[in-house]
C-alpha cells in the first residue's frame, strides 16, 4: 500500500503518540534469484533500485546492505548540493541530478528537506580567481546558474565572515543560488520506501563477501545470508567497491580514504547559505537544528577506519576560526569519517565492465551526495539497457586506457 504523508497524517499520528506509524519498508529474507542485485544500501543504491522499478519496469530486484540503510557515506556527508562543475560531461551529470532534487520531495511524497539556500565557493588568491571565473563562464555556457560575487557582495551575504584580516584573504567567490543542502537520511528512506512499495527487496545486515562469475558472465554474490543468484549486479559500495571488484577479478582505479566531517553544538541561525573554500579547506552550512555542519578533508593515506587523522580536523578548525572568528569559542559535538573511493580524475565511474552483467557506480570520491538521484537515475538506465545513458557515457572505465579523463579536481572542492 502506498504510504502517504501529509499534515493530516502527522496530526493523526500525533494523537496516538507517534506509535502507530507504519513500517516504511518490509525486511524480507532474501530469495534465491533476482534479476538485479544492487550491492550497497545508500542513497545511490536505493535510488538505482527505485528507478529500475519505476522507469524500467523491473520487479525482481534486491538491495543488499552490510549495515543499515544510509549508514555509510549517505549518512556521513555534509549534504551540500550544487552543479557548478567545469567540464560539459560533469555539468550535465550534476545538473541532471540537481533537477531531480528540485522535484524529489513531491515525486516521493516524502520531504527530503531540499533547501536551495545557495552555495558559495571562495577565492583566496589570484589563481583561485582565474579558475573560479573560468568555471562560472563554463557553467553559464551550460545553462547553469552561477555568477561571480565581489568581496563586498560576500560581506553582505555572510556578515560574520572575516574577509581581510587573515593569511589568505577572501577576494571573491562563485555563487550558485539553486545549490543548497538536503536531509541525508530522508533521501535514503524516501527511495527505500517507494522502491519497497514497487516490490524491491531491501535486505539489511547482509554483507556481500564475493561476486561470483563464470566464463565472463555474472553468477551471483556470496553474502552473509547465503549465495544469491542474479542476472545483473550493480555495485554501489563507495569505499568498499574496490574490495568487491577485486573479488570478481577486476581492478578499479580507486583509492579509499577517510573523509571527515564534524558538527557543532546547535545555535540560533547565523549563516543562511553554504560557504565552501577549497584553498584553506573549510566548508560550512547550518543545519535546521542549528548545528554548524563542517566539512574537513581526506587523509593522505589509504584507510578503511571510518575515523581519519586528528591533524585533518586541526587544519579545518584552524581555517574555520580564521574565516569566522565568531565561531572561535563554540564546542564541537561530534566528529566522524566516511570511506570515500577516489578516482584519479576526481570524477565518478558509472559503467559496465568486461564481465557480462556486472556494473559499477563508484569513484564519487568526496562529492557523491549531490549526485544521488542523478547517479541512481542514469545507473538504472545503464543496468536496464546494458548501455550507458548519454549523460554517463563519458564516465566509463575505458577512459583510463584512452586517456579521455574528466578532470574535476578544481570543482571537486575537497583536494585529493
Amino acid at each position: 500500500m502506498k504510504k502517504k504523508y501529509s499534515i493530516f497524517s502527522l496530526a493523526k499520528n500525533a494523537l496516538s503518540g507517534h506509535k502507530e506509524w507504519p513500517k516504511m519498508w518490509r525486511s524480507p529474507e532474501p530469495r534465491e534469484f533476482y534479476d538485479v542485485i544492487i550491492i550497497g544500501g545508500g542513497g545511490h543504491g536505493l535510488g538505482t533500485a527505485y528507478y529500475l522499478a519505476k522507469e524500467h519496469g523491473l520487479k525482481n530486484i534486491a538491495v543488499i546492505e552490510k549495515g543499515w540503510l544510509g549508514g555509510g557515506n549517505t549518512g556521513r556527508n555534509t549534504t551540500i548540493i550544487r552543479s557548478n562543475y567545469l567540464w560539459d560531461d560533469s555539468a550535465h551529470l550534476y545538473e541532471h541530478s540537481l533537477k531531480l532534487w528540485e522535484n524529489l520531495s513531491s515525486e516521493l511524497n516524502y520531504n527530503v528537506m531540499f533547501s536551495q539556500r545557495g552555495v558559495m565557493n571562495l577565492a583566496h588568491n589570484e589563481h583561485d580567481i582565474k579558475e573560479i571565473k573560468r568555471r562560472v563562464s563554463a557553467n553559464n555556457l551550460n545553462g547553469i546558474d552561477s555568477f561571480w560575487l565581489s568581496k563586498e557582495e560576500i560581506q553582505k551575504k555572510v556578515p560574520i565572515m572575516n574577509t581581510d584580516n587573515l593569511r589568505y584573504p577572501v577576494l571573491g567567490a562563485s555563487y550558485q543560488p539553486r545549490g543548497g543542502v538536503a536531509r541525508h537520511d530522508a533521501i535514503a528512506w524516501g527511495f527505500a520506501m517507494r522502491a519497497d512499495e514497487m516490490g524491491v527487496d531491501i535486505i539489511q545486515n547482509c554483507e556481500a563477501h564475493q561476486i561470483r562469475t563464470k566464463n565472463g558472465t555474472i553468477e551471483g554474490v556470496e553474502t552473509s545470508k547465503g549465495f544469491l543468484r542474479a542476472n545483473k549486479i550493480g555495485v554501489v559500495a563507495s569505499g568498499h567497491t574496490g574490495v568487491l571488484a577485486e573479488s570478481a577479478g577486476i581492478r578499479l582505479p580507486l583509492q579509499s580514504k577517510p573523509l571527515q566531517a564534524l558538527v557543532s553544538e546547535p545555535i540560533k541561525p547565523i549563516i543562511d547559505t553554504v560557504v565552501m573554500s577549497s584553498a584553506v579547506h573549510a566548508y560550512v552550512s547550518q543545519s535546521d537544528k542549528g548545528e554548524l555542519v563542517i566539512g574537513a578533508g581526506t587523509d593522505s593515506y589509504n584507510s578503511f577506519t571510518q575515523r581519519g587523522g586528528f591533524n585533518i580536523i586541526e587544519d579545518t578548525i584552524r581555517a574555520m576560526v580564521e574565516l569566522y572568528p565568531v565561531f572561535g569559542k563554540m564546542k564541537m559535538l561530534r566528529q566522524w569519517g566516511g570511506i570515500v573511493d577516489i578516482c584519479p580524475d576526481a570524477s565518478p565511474i558509472i559503467s559496465k565492465c568486461n564481465i557480462e552483467g556486472l556494473f559499477f557506480n563508484c569513484g564519487w570520491g568526496t562529492g557523491g551526495f549531490k549526485a544521488t538521484p542523478g547517479s541512481a537515475n542514469v545507473f538504472a538506465y545503464t543496468i536496464a539497457k546494458n548501455e550507458p545513458h548519454q549523460i554517463n557515457s563519458a564516465f566509463n572505465l575505458d577512459r583510463f586506457a584512452s586517456g579521455r579523463l574528466v578532470d574535476e579536481h578544481g570543482a571537486a572542492a575537497v583536494a585529493h
Binding site: H209, R251, L252, L254, R307, G337, F400
Partner: protein, 116 residues
C-alpha cells in the same frame, strides 16, 4: 594520528611524513610493446586492499628519505617499516584482522576503537 618509525630516524609524528601510495609498483620495462590498456593500468591503477598493504612514506620534514611500510588499512596499525633496498616482508608473517573482505575488525576501526 600515527606514530611512524622512520628506519633512519626512529619513531616520529605523522605530521613529519608524506604518504607515497602503494609500494613495489613496477614500471613496464620496455622489453616488449604494450598497449594503452596496460599503460593505463600502470598509470592509474593501484592496489587498494582492506587489510595488509605495502606502502611508501617519505620523511619530508626530517631526513627526507623514502622508505616502505606494511600497514593494516582496516585499523591503521603500522606493522613494519623497512628501507627501500630491503626485501619486502611476506604478508603471511602478519595476522589479518579482517575476517570477511569488507568486514570490520573487532578493534581498531572508527566504529570500535576500544576492546568491547
Amino acid at each position: 594520528m600515527l606514530i611512524i618509525n622512520c628506519p633512519y630516524c626512529g619513531p616520529r609524528d605523522q605530521s613529519e611524513f608524506s604518504n607515497g601510495g602503494e609500494a613495489h609498483v613496477k614500471r613496464p620495462d620496455g622489453s616488449k610493446e604494450i598497449g594503452d590498456r596496460e599503460w593505463g593500468e600502470y598509470v592509474f591503477i593501484r592496489a587498494n586492499p582492506k587489510g595488509l598493504f605495502y606502502e611508501r612514506w617519505v620523511h619530508t620534514h626530517g631526513c627526507r628519505k623514502w622508505f616502505n611500510c606494511v600497514r593494516d588499512t582496516s585499523t591503521d596499525q603500522i606493522l613494519v617499516t623497512y628501507k627501500l633496498d630491503e626485501k619486502k616482508p611476506n604478508l603471511n608473517n602478519f595476522k589479518s584482522v579482517v575476517k570477511t573482505p569488507s568486514g570490520e575488525p573487532e578493534v581498531g576501526s572508527g566504529n570500535f576503537t576500544v576492546e568491547k
